[in-house]
Symmetry: C2
């Protein structure tokens, strides 16, 4: 055997111990929910810094007509909206055939972006505590316009320099090997209702190197970040999905003490040895069966062909004749501190707010979440695991019974003390214009459980963490909810 391989095998044994130890250190960082200590690490308060970032740079996003959109055009023949470089993304037509749903077949516009981008959080230890390097980032579709973003949030066109802008800072930690230790690294899907087969690389790296903190960036503990997840429209979708993939599970005792039965059950559920309703084999089989029961046929078609289903392209907007679903608009953007300081791009603007609710229950003293196998227009592999209830647009009190999804009433009628989360968060502002979702977590307690339809399944928190290590199991809304849930174990409430 070669010497180098022997070394690798030995290093791996040490790495295993470090991995167990690391989980403890992640949890310790997650338990620090108050303002970051140490003026050298992150001077001033978060809110002062964030307000200063907003003041220091000027961002102007103005709506323009498509003809004024520099670099973009409607392709002759297909009517697809595309960039003249052939890169970034396109808005095309999609024909969907999905058996078993209320509507079996339809066409719609869809964003096609086959390239895989990087969503990366860089971590580093200061004074024995792990910190995440976060960014106050402007995106044209943001409500804000700043939101808290991962260290790196870059499409492949960004970081391979198609837009001829400044290089993406800190990218090398995620694309060069040996710059740190990888904690998680997985391709995850994004909104299946609006994207065809979109996925991004979700990656977290811990480095020992000296990391200069550029303007617009700040070191924060996991706990502080978790706290900010409970504020409306502050932590962006990209940060949430990366946070969701962190392995926040641990055997045995966690830091701090549980302050109620919910927190106690949540802490127990983070232990991989905790009892569960289903085994992992059963959960994987449940999802495989759901994927096999249905058929999802997806066919890319010219955008022009969606006209027969009521979609029209006008000079300022692509929209549906009923004003429903979403429209595609164009914006001109001026930003002081982005890779390029002025650009134009299309954005998808949802017609209404979405809703994503997660029901939890304490089963045998272990917190379980009720997840649903969900088929969306653009899902890569038929179905992914989504929230207990997800609707777009959000159902309301006037929605007729037959259009209310299962568990919607149960989640919405829960008494306030059962509601562990109720927050409005933004979806990706680089593609979507003011796209917001109301995220709610409701604890059903330890009383009688509702009947579970065959597309739903009770899953323990450590089992969800296991699913999150792999691609295309958990959809982006469920990932936000799980990221939020994992902020509740230190104290149980926002």
């Amino acid at each position: 055997m070669s010497q180098s391989t022997m070394t690798s095998v030995r290093a791996r044994a040490a790495g295993d111990r470090w991995e167990g130890d690391l989980t403890r250190r992640l949890l310790a960082s997650a338990a620090l929910t108050t303002e970051d200590p140490g003026s050298r690490i992150a001077p001033g308060t978060f809110h002062d810094w964030f307000a200063e970032q907003a003041r220091a740079h000027r961002y102007v996003t103005s709506r323009v007509g498509f003809p004024a959109l520099s670099g973009w055009r409607f392709a002759p023949g297909t009517g697809n909206l595309e960039h003249e470089s052939g890169r970034f993304f396109t808005v095309e037509g999609l024909r969907v055939h999905r058996d078993g749903g209320p509507v079996e077949s339809w066409t719609q516009p869809v964003i096609v972006q086959p390239e895989i981008g990087v969503l990366g959080i860089l971590m580093k230890e200061f004074g024995g505590v792990l910190y995440c390097l976060m960014q106050a980032k402007m995106e044209p579709g943001n409500i804000g316009p700043l939101q808290l973003s991962p260290t790196v949030q870059a499409t492949r066109s960004n970081y391979t320099g198609v837009h001829r802008g400044r290089r993406v800072p800190y990218l090398e930690y995620f694309t060069e090997s040996g710059r740190g230790r990888v904690l998680t690294d997985v391709l995850q899907s994004e909104q299946g209702a609006w994207f065809l087969h979109k996925r991004n690389r979700n990656v977290v790296v811990v480095t020992d190197e000296d990391v200069p903190v550029l303007d617009g960036f700040r070191w924060m503990t996991l706990g502080r970040l978790g706290r900010l997840l409970h504020a409306d429209n502050l932590v962006n979708m990209d940060a949430r999905t990366v946070l969701a993939s962190l392995p926040l599970t641990a055997a045995g005792e966690l830091p701090g003490t549980a302050d109620d039965a919910f927190t106690a059950a949540l802490r127990r559920s983070m232990d991989p040895a905790a009892g569960t309703v289903h085994s992992m084999t059963e959960i994987l089989s449940w999802l495989t069966a759901a994927r096999s029961r249905r058929e999802l046929r997806q066919e890319r078609i010219p955008l022009a062909e969606t006209a027969r289903d009521g979609w029209t392209t006008e000079s300022e907007v692509i929209r549906h004749r009923d004003g429903e679903y979403f429209s595609v608009i164009a914006v001109d953007v001026r930003a002081g501190n982005r890779e390029v300081s002025r650009w134009g791009q299309p954005l998808l603007a949802p017609a209404a707010r979405g809703f994503a609710g997660l029901l939890t229950a304490r089963i045998g003293g272990v917190l379980h979440v009720l997840l649903q196998a969900q088929v969306e227009s653009g899902t890569l592999n038929v179905a992914e695991v989504g929230p207990t209830v997800m609707c777009l647009p959000e159902a309301g009190p006037d929605t007729p019974d037959e259009h209310r999804p299962p568990f919607w009433d149960l989640v919405l009628s829960a008494p306030p003390r059962s509601r562990r989360l109720d927050v409005v968060l933004s979806e990706e502002g680089g593609r979507f214009f003011h796209a917001v979702t109301r995220y709610v977590i409701v604890d059903a307690g330890d009383g009688p459980l509702p009947d579970v339809p065959r597309d739903h399944c009770w899953i323990a928190v450590h089992q969800a963490a296991e699913l999150l290590r792999h691609s295309n199991y958990v959809n982006v809304q469920a990932r936000t909810l799980l990221a939020c849930l994992s902020t509740l174990w230190p104290t149980g409430r926002a």
Copy 2:
């Protein structure tokens, strides 16, 4: 908490114990490599039974022109070959853009079959030993024409009755819940060079019910089946992929004794506690990085558009002007014991035999396999993990150096005593005509290891088993090799 859920949590604790116990029972079955005992379970010898099956039924497959192909047509406009029901599968065009490869962009015919079929093996215990119910099944593209198949091998069109034939026997064990215990249940990919995004449900169920053995079926131990994997063109692709997904790993001592250093290292590598070169996090990150480094753009196009790259549709064949790659032909089939007794269908006929080689090494006394991140035209998620070396057509001694894939020489020049497997096996005879691959496993021993390019990675057997629990990690050729490898631990040699 409801009474029923309490019961579920308790049952799960018992289930966990059963799962550990089950792995032992699977291994015990895999250790029984000789003729099945017990005339009640499976009378006579396997070879007598198999020969009798071949004699008892008459199968005639004749090549016909496309105009004589009942139910199939070339669609006007696109030239796609399709069934008049709109079901089964189509032969369409595919435009591939793949950066980084020797050829960056091309078009080709491809089989599109979005529906997900069932490949299921039913198991049952007799006299304390687990048996698999296998089938001697005719497929029109088989060399044989019989090969040993899973209990159920059915497309969705088959089992939902599109072809109005007989129902698929034993299907209910895999589509109805509660008919047995699921050991594994996962969607797995098939040939990415010929299929676009094809996947099937690979499922194994152990039942306690009385199972009538229909004509053409036979109970066999895992070990006996494993032995037959070493015979040319006998165990079909569908059986091999299901066998690969069985959890053949176990902590601690295995039945029998290792008869050499290779077998000892293989047995050690089946223990999830065995030391490995890389952690699972590192392996998942390696594959994620490989998927992100590259771009794979796949676009379905009319078959007629592949003409510009040299593909022509003639009355009897779709072929490439150079006679390379593959052709698509049509056959008329008469079979006595299939769901329908006469039908016509297209088949894809490769121009040459393929090659798939697996290099193993004993690293720190633990057997590792060298796997490669592989991008193919029809891969669902950019890349899957394939064999150490895979080429289609097989490279030969006259192949110029620059066209020989990495490790091809190393695998082929290995001395006979290092060659643990060398067998020619058939790919799926329901879609491919006489498609065969030479599968070779070579042990590099415990000497100096070759340099590993960044698309390759050393992976322990228990880690490969973990990857096999999930969809789209391990490609179909690597699954065959891993199924073959797992037959070598009881004795080390075919």
